[in-house]
Each structure stands twice: as structure tokens, then as C-alpha cells.
Amino acid sequence: MRRILAQARKELIQITRDKLALTLALVLPIALLMLLGSSISLSVTELPLVVQDLDNSAASRSLLEAFRNSLTFHVVAWPVNKPPMEAFTANEARAALIIDRGFGRALARGGDAQAQILIDASDSNTAKLIQGYSSQIVNAWNSTAGGAQRLLPVKALIRLWYNPGRVTKKFYGPGIFVLGLSMFPPLLAALAMSREGEQQTLLQVYVSSIPAHQFLLGKILAFMVIGFAEWVIMLGLLFTYFGLSFAGDPTPFFVASILYFFCVATYGTMIGAAIPSQAAAIQAVALGGFLLVFLLSGLIFPVENIPPGLRWISNFVWGRYYMEIVRDALLEGGGWAAMWFNVLVIGIIGGVFFLLSWRRMRRMQLSI
């Protein structure tokens, strides 16, 4: 135990001496969380909408007013004789609302009046949102100004749970939190470990009395401390800037966090032990810590959307399990009943990483 602590202390001293590493450890996670947490969003507002009102009646103007009043759209002037498609190719509008002649008369007669919305679908998600929003606007207009005072048989009473304001940063904040924890502690751990290999200081370790597992544990402990420091800072940011708080029993979150520090620190150490070149180790960590967690753990879009040929990989991505736990703790509050499996998996993956790096260390010892 004493030797493990001494090893951990040595690592921490080395980090505090390296200014670049220290900023990487403590400043960058905050910057990343602020920047990505607020910039990643799919909730578009003020989309430019072109309007072509060929009817120009009181009814059509009233419908246009409803579109003008919505937060989602802002109406852009467009001449009636110019095809609305040109507004799309010129990037001046995302959608075009076209009201044909005879619109007002059809409404007055009590018939169905037609309106068309052309949507630039080059961004498919925004296109779908536009479709949903525009039909909601028209439905609302039908029931207030139009003839839908007819009683509708079934009315949807939609309740939005956990995030009733549909605030995007409450969803992406915890995701970036996990991304930061998956990136920086293993990066520093890999750098420290591969440096020992690169500068041949590993030989000194071999001639000392410290056994492989204690040496590894000491290193891992140091980077768990770094992970914990980042965790505290970023959690503080989540509670203040992102307006989150614990939704239910936070104990699974605490337990999982400690296991996750172990998991990522061990991952970095393993990479560092396997690749005794710092530049290459950085790339390997960037692949596992950033690319896998960013793409295959449901950070932006649900994991279920990934095609099955790729989705199976996400079962091995440690960040995915932790992300579910963090979101559960801060938004859903499912507690142990929902999250015990994820906590277990993080522990197992961490254990596997440790075994692999331990074997690697042992083998290196024998080869020298």
C-alpha cells in the first residue's frame, strides 16, 4: 500500500510540473463542457421561411400571421413570381409556404383549403422538425381561427417527462461531461506510461522492488485522482450553468463514478504500456476516448439509430454505460433498479483493462 501511494505521489508531482499537461487536465475539460455543451443542439429556432401568398385574402393573411408569430420561423420576403426553390439553392430559406388562389373562399364555404409547405431536406432532422412545427401551427390556427371548432374525438394530452422545457443542454451537458472524463484522464495516463517506455525509465522500475501490479495501481490511482478533480469541477458546472440536479438516488452514480475513474485511468495506462511512443499513444487514446465515446455511446443521437453492423461495437464502449448512469442520475432518477447492470459492466471493463495492462507489464519484465 505504501509503495502504491508513493508511486501515485510521484505521478502527481510529475503532472504538476508539466504546465501543458496541467492545463490539459484541469482547464480543457471546463472549456470543452462549456463549448460543446452549449453548441451541440438540434433545436433550431428562427428558420428563414419564404411565403408565397397567391390568395392574399383575410384568411391567408391570418394564417401567415400565425407563422410569423412562431419562434421557429421568421418570414423572409420573397417575390411571388420567383420560384421558391431558388431561395433554397441560395441558402436564403429552409422552407417555403405556398397558399394557392381560392384559399379564403374554400375556407368560407366550409371546405378543405389546401396549403403546401416545401421543406429543404438537405438537413433531414431539421426538415422533420419543420414538418412537425408547421403542422402544429396550422392545427392551432384551425382550432382558433378556422373551422375546427368542430369537436375532435380524441385529443392528445402530451406530458414531457424529465425535461419538460425540452432544454437541449440538459441532455448534451451530461454527455459532454462523460466525454471529458473519457478523454483527459486516459490521455494523461497514456502519456505518463509511454514516457516511461520512451525514456527507458521503465528499466529503473524493474530493478526496484515494486511488483508490476503495485506499480500499475500506483499510476492508476494518480490518474483516478485527476479524474476525480475533473469530475468535481465539471459536476459543479452541470449544477450551475446547465441547471441540473440529482433526480433520484445518486448512490449508483457515485459508485459508478469511482469505477469509471478506475476504468479510464486503466485504459490510458494500458495504451501507454502497449505503445511506448507518446505521439502514437495520443492517437490511440483519441480513438478510444474521443471517437468511440463521441460516436458510439449515444451522446448526440440514440444508440438504437446506429446500423446493427456497427451498433454491436457500442456494447464494448465503456462511456456508453457511464453516460446512461449520469443521465439517469441527473434527469430520470431510476436509481439502482435501472442502473445496477451498467455499474457492473463498467467494473468488468475496468477489470479487463487492468488484467491486460498487468499481463503486458509482466511480459515486458520477462523480455528484458
Partner: protein
């Protein structure tokens, strides 16, 4: 002049740089492997489609109408049935434990009320943790219920009160039906947006990584002094360093374009020349960023770590993966300084919409301006260091 440039020193320097890169196996791999991997992974993994949401069902009524409504919900493709729940409480627990994404509660007397002419409220619970999914699911739900209402009204099996025109006289008695039409991407393929954005992202990020590695190499090996002892001027050294990288990265552009066409089947509706022009500027931009970073560092390790500071703002303020319109308002103007943003606009407009140069020239101009500034900045730093 030209003969002097390409006949003597310059040719020798270029020959040296090309030979060095030709021997560098890792560089060649890093020009092909990461871009391919990133393009495929981003394109396939970042999929915004909202479908097959798990819908938990609480049906207290068990009538023909309630079953019909449930069928309408689960047949829409947006939702799939995730089993029946006995009460609203168990449904709530199911949502909080992540077993279902949404739930619908049909009250007792659902069909009776419909036949009596009373409006029935159907409770729909949505896990809104993911704001985007919730917004789209909300749209779906209202669409499905709206259609179901229309079908039931037309079938005439409900109470007459639903079909008669209301008591309050109004001058507008009809209803508006909105017909949406999706232009340019009628199948709503999600990858078309992501891939066209990722293209610029990988040009800049990989370009800068490769460039900074190449630039720092000579310094790490300590051979800069030898290079300075030759009669070649600093300008010539820089050009000779940049030219082979530019050629190689342009090869990467061609490769990525092929990948975009073959794997993702993105339609090339516009002029490819505009895209290649933008890509060439992007490559130069990436080289400039890499060179600039390399002047602050002494080792490959430091150069790579520097990229951790530069890449997040570059990629998050680019609109490459998520629309710029969804960013906070104060952030949106910042994207104008980002080359990735302009290249994203160019590829999307030129490839998907077939926009021409007379529309895209401001973006090309902006990209060229950014490239020029970055390039002269990095050359200035580099020269200062060499001198």
C-alpha cells in the same frame, strides 16, 4: 525565373521533401486510414432518425376503438409496442428505468365517451430527456392522432356531435390541410447532412495533424540547422515543405469524394469544380493551422497535444454535425470565422442542392480570405523561427 525556380534549388528541395514523405509509412497510413474511418463512422453512427420508439401501453378500456388507436400508433413506424402495462404507475416506472421511451394511457369509457359525443383526452407520456427525439415524437403523436380523428369522422361510426358544424357562427368554416413536400432529400436520409459536414471537418483536422507532424519532425531530429546552412532561402524551404503535403492531401480529397459518392450515394447535383476549389482551400487552411501550431512546439507530442486545444472549438463551431441555427445566438456569428463552416455550406449547397458559383462566391471568398490570413500568419511565424 521559372527555370531558376524549378531547375535548381527548388527542385532539389521539393525532391527531398517528396522522398522523405514517400519513405514515411506512418504518414501514408494516416492519410488514408483515419479519414476513411472517420467518414464512415460519422456517416453511419450519427443518425438523427427517430423511429421505433418503444411505446408502453395502458389500455383501461379494452374496446374496439382503443385497440384501433393503439394499432394506429404502433403502425406508424415512429413507435413500436413495448408491451402492455397494468397501470399508469407501472408505466411511469418503466419510463424512468429506461424500458420504454414513451407511453400512452387510454382511459376507462374511452369508446363509450366517443359514442356519447364527448371528447376524450388520451394521455401520452414522452421521455423528453433527449429534447430532439421528444420534439419529433411529439409531432408524430399529434400527426397519428390527427389522422385517426379524420378517419373516424369519415367512417361515421361516432356520435353525430363530432361531425356537425359548431354552434358558434364564424366566417371561416373550413379547415386548412398542410401538405409538406421534402425537397432535395425526399427520403430524409440523415447521413447526407452529416457526411457533407464531416468532409470539411476531416480535411482541416487531419490536414493540420499531418502538417504539424511533418513540420516538427525536422526540428525534433535537429536537422533544421543543416537545412538553413544550404543556400536555400526560408521562403523556398517553406514552399518545399508545404507543396508535397498539399499534393498528398488533395489525393485524400479525391479519395474522400469517391467514398462519399460510392458508400453514401450522395447525389452530385452541382458543379464539382466548386467543391474541389473549396476543398483545396480547406487543405491549405489545414496545413496553415498545423504549421502555425508546430511553430509553438518542439516535439511531436506537444504538437499533438496542442491540437486538443484547437480542435474542439473548430469542430463545435462549424455546423458540421448539428445545424448552426440551433446554436445559441451569441455563438452563431463566431462560425463566420470558421473555415469548416464555409466549406460545409459549399458542399451541401453544391452537392445536394446544385447551387452555382454565383450563389456560393461569398463562401469561397471567405474561405480564401481565412486561408490567406492563416497561411501568411504561419509562414511569418515559421520564417521568424528559421531566421
Amino acid at each position: 525565373m521559372i527555370a531558376k525556380l524549378f531547375g535548381g534549388r527548388m527542385a532539389a528541395l521539393l525532391g527531398k521533401e517528396f522522398a522523405q514523405i514517400g519513405r514515411d509509412k506512418r504518414l501514408r497510413i494516416s492519410l488514408i486510414l483515419p479519414p476513411t474511418l472517420q467518414l464512415l463512422l460519422f456517416g453511419f453512427a450519427l443518425n438523427a432518425t427517430v423511429d421505433n420508439l418503444r411505446l408502453g401501453i395502458v389500455d383501461f378500456d379494452h374496446s374496439r376503438e382503443s385497440r384501433d388507436l393503439i394499432a394506429a400508433m404502433t403502425q406508424s413506424g415512429a413507435f413500436r409496442s413495448a408491451g402492455a402495462f397494468t397501470s399508469a404507475e407501472t408505466l411511469g416506472t418503466g419510463i424512468s428505468q429506461g424500458k420504454v421511451d414513451a407511453g400512452i394511457v387510454l382511459p376507462v369509457n374511452f369508446s363509450k365517451d366517443l359514442h356519447r359525443g364527448h371528447q376524450v383526452g388520451v394521455q401520452v407520456l414522452l421521455n423528453a430527456m433527449n429534447a430532439n427525439t421528444a420534439a419529433i415524437a411529439q409531432g408524430y403523436t399529434q400527426g397519428v392522432l390527427g389522422t385517426w380523428n379524420q378517419v373516424m369522422l369519415k367512417s361515421g361510426s361516432l356520435h353525430a356531435r363530432f361531425t356537425q358544424i359548431g354552434a358558434v357562427p364564424r366566417d371561416l368554416r373550413g379547415i386548412v390541410t398542410l401538405h409538406p413536400a421534402f425537397i432535395f432529400n425526399p427520403g430524409l436520409v440523415s447521413s447526407w447532412f452529416v457526411v457533407t459536414g464531416t468532409f470539411g471537418l476531416l480535411l482541416i483536422l487531419n490536414g493540420s495533424l499531418v502538417a504539424s507532424a511533418a513540420m516538427v519532425k525536422e526540428r525534433e531530429a535537429g536537422t533544421v540547422e543543416q537545412l538553413l546552412m544550404t543556400p536555400a532561402g526560408t521562403g523556398e524551404i517553406i514552399v518545399a515543405k508545404i507543396a508535397p503535403l498539399f499534393v498528398l492531401l488533395c489525393g485524400m480529397v479525391l479519395f474522400a469524394t469517391t467514398l462519399i459518392k460510392v458508400v453514401f450515394q450522395i447525389p452530385f447535383r452541382g458543379n464539382l469544380v466548386i467543391v474541389f476549389l473549396g476543398a483545396a482551400l480547406c487543405v491549405l487552411c489545414g496545413i496553415a493551422i498545423g504549421t502555425f501550431l508546430a511553430t509553438f512546439t518542439r516535439t511531436a507530442r506537444q504538437a499533438q497535444l496542442m491540437s486538443f486545444f484547437v480542435n474542439p472549438p473548430l469542430s463545435s463551431l462549424s455546423g458540421a454535425l448539428t445545424p448552426v441555427e440551433a446554436m445559441p445566438h451569441w455563438m452563431q456569428p463566431l462560425t463566420i470565422l470558421n473555415p469548416i463552416r464555409h466549406f460545409g455550406v459549399i458542399t451541401r449547397a453544391a452537392l445536394l442542392k446544385g447551387s452555382s458559383i454565383d450563389i456560393l462566391w461569398p463562401n469561397i471568398l471567405a474561405l480564401a480570405a481565412i486561408t490567406l490570413v492563416l497561411l501568411s500568419l504561419s509562414v511569418w511565424r515559421f520564417r521568424k523561427q528559421l531566421g
